[in-house]
């Protein structure tokens, strides 16, 4: 998993945030659009260099799949539950739920972010029941 091209100039503040225990996203001051994943322009109005903001890390499960056939780099970890989470600030991200049985997670469940080292050793956002 390790890749020495990461973080890149777009993502460095995001991964720095994760290392500091912050879930960072971007926000357009011109049109109020919430932007995730972080980009160098507003995905709605095109304004350059949107502001960085910090999420409270609370959200709702939008979709979930329990993985039984893991990709080679994740062999031995299955089954595990991968989520799409709608954060309360209005953006969606992929993550995984931990500290709970994978089959017990349902769409609509409330979850909160926690940070743990990811597969490449970098602090990475995961979720746990709120």
């Amino acid at each position: 998993m390790s890749d020495d091209t990461l973080p890149d100039p777009d993502s460095e503040p995001y991964w720095d945030g994760a290392a500091a225990g912050e879930l960072r996203y971007r926000h357009c001051a011109s049109c109020e659009t919430v932007i995730f994943y972080p980009r160098s322009l507003c995905t709605h109005c095109g304004a350059p260099n949107p502001d960085w903001a910090v999420s409270k890390g609370q959200g709702t499960v939008y979709a979930v799949s329990v993985v039984h056939r893991a990709p080679p780099a994740f062999k031995g970890q299955s089954p595990y539950a991968v989520l799409l989470v709608d954060l309360d600030e209005g953006f969606r991200m992929m993550s995984r739920i931990i500290d709970v049985e994978p089959d017990s997670v349902s769409i609509g469940d409330r979850v909160r972010v926690i940070f743990q080292d990811g597969p490449d050793g970098r602090p990475t956002p995961y979720f746990t029941p709120a």
Binding site: M1, D3, T5, L6, P7, D8, S11, Y37, Y62, A63, V64, S65, V66, V67, H68, R69, A70, P71, A73, F74, Q77, Y80, V82, L84, R92, M93, M94, S95, R96, S106, I107, G108, G118, P119, D120, T124
Partner: protein
């Protein structure tokens, strides 16, 4: 501006399909090209447009043209996943309408099964994918599983309903001598085939085969000089939504909603006018979502729509009559085979699986992870 009757399909062919170890991506495409030109009654020297897509090699659009000895004056290497060939059909029509070429060939080949080509969904963890890669979602199946989970929760759709689609598709495959899997299949077989990524089981997923195909697209003037009756492009629309599943705005609505509306409007026909439908079936859920997005049923009604044999040979809605990506073949990017089957049905060449009096067909290709869609309406009148 419209593409209605801007071009006709004059020839179609597959290469050998399934497991073809004594081949390369180039030999399979050459095989399909020769057969499709013969089907059309045209020569290689007539070809002045070449539209290709693939994840093999370094520059597939150049490598295949060189190998075939074709120096096209119109070239298109659009790569939007398995739907690329339905995009190509619209692009070929526009090019022919503009006078940029007269005989365009759409080509595809893959030896992913026998020779481990670099598959289009090799794991990436750079750029946008760095926000998904740490979590181990298998691609593409996990992304489609996410969409299925959402549809199940939102509308009460069930694994049994998805299984019924796989069963009906297999019933069509049993009638197609070229299909890879033809043995009978039951709902229980699908439900018990083992979870890959919930709620999708192994038999909700497409095959993993070798194979190639070719489609010869010609100007109306040339179409009228050929022996076989032309199959006309009556409408086409295309739409691109996202690259990765976490960026899909609504997991229950695919880009077919936009491309389909445009295709229907261009063709000037409605759903009930159609005699048959070919919809990209990378996974059972792909078909359900595409049917809803195209407006064949209301949002949430897709599960009921595809269940109880409705789309099979004995049902009222002929769908994926070659056996689809689920049971006929799926060499990585399946979209070209949607065109091939629709053309054969409209020509009445399908023997045991022929849909009676077929004159109007819809094909809808989906690529990536519900990311891209092009929908085309074809007719013989």
């Amino acid at each position: 501006m419209s593409l209605k009757r801007a071009c006709a399909i004059a020839g179609v062919a597959e290469s050998r399909l399934g497991v073809v170890p004594d081949s390369t991506v180039l030999t399979l495409q050459a095989e399909a090209l020769v057969a499709a030109l013969a089907d059309a009654g045209l020569e290689k020297s007539d070809v002045d447009g070449l539209l290709v897509s693939g994840a093999w090699g370094r520059l597939p659009g150049l490598q295949i043209a060189e190998y075939l000895g074709i120096q096209p004056s119109y070239a298109d290497s659009t790569m939007v996943g398995g739907a690329s060939f339905e995009f190509h059909l619209g692009h070929a029509a526009a090019a022919i309408q503009a006078g940029l070429c007269k005989v365009a060939v759409i080509l595809y080949g893959s030896t992913q099964r026998s020779r481990a080509d670099k598959y289009i969904f090799q794991i990436r963890n750079d750029l946008g994918y760095q926000y998904e890669a740490p979590y181990g979602l298998p691609t593409p199946v996990g992304s489609y599983a996410m969409a299925a989970s959402r549809h199940f929760a939102q509308y009460g759709t069930t694994s049994e309903q998805l299984a019924d689609l796989a069963v009906s598709t297999r019933e069509w495959a049993a009638l197609n001598p070229k299909a890879y899997r033809r043995e009978p299949l039951t709902r229980e077989d699908v439900l018990n085939s083992g979870p890959i990524a919930t709620p999708l089981n192994k038999l909700d997923c497409c095959l993993f085969t070798d194979g190639g195909g070719a489609v010869v697209v010609v100007s109306p003037e040339i179409a009228k000089t050929l022996d076989k009756a032309p199959v006309w492009l009556l409408g086409q629309g295309e739409s691109v939504s996202h690259a990765q599943i976490s960026e899909m705005p609504d997991l229950t609505v695919t880009p077919a909603a936009k491309s389909g509306a445009r295709a229907f409007e261009m063709a000037g026909v409605t759903h009930t006018d159609l005699d048959l439908v070919q919809i990209y079936d990378s996974f059972t859920i792909t078909v359900l979502l595409t049917l809803e997005s195209l407006g064949f049923c209301s949002p949430g009604a897709g599960g009921e729509f595809i269940s109880n044999g409705r789309t099979g040979p004995s049902g009222e809605f002929p769908l994926n009559t070659n056996g689809g990506g689920l049971s006929y073949c799926h060499p990585g990017q399946y979209g070209i085979f949607l065109i091939i089957e629709a053309v054969r049905q409209l020509r009445g060449e399908c023997d045991a699986r022929q849909v009676a009096d077929a004159t109007l067909a819809l094909i809808s290709g989906t690529g990536g992870v519900l990311s891209s869609n092009s929908t085309c309406i074809l007719g013989v009148e």
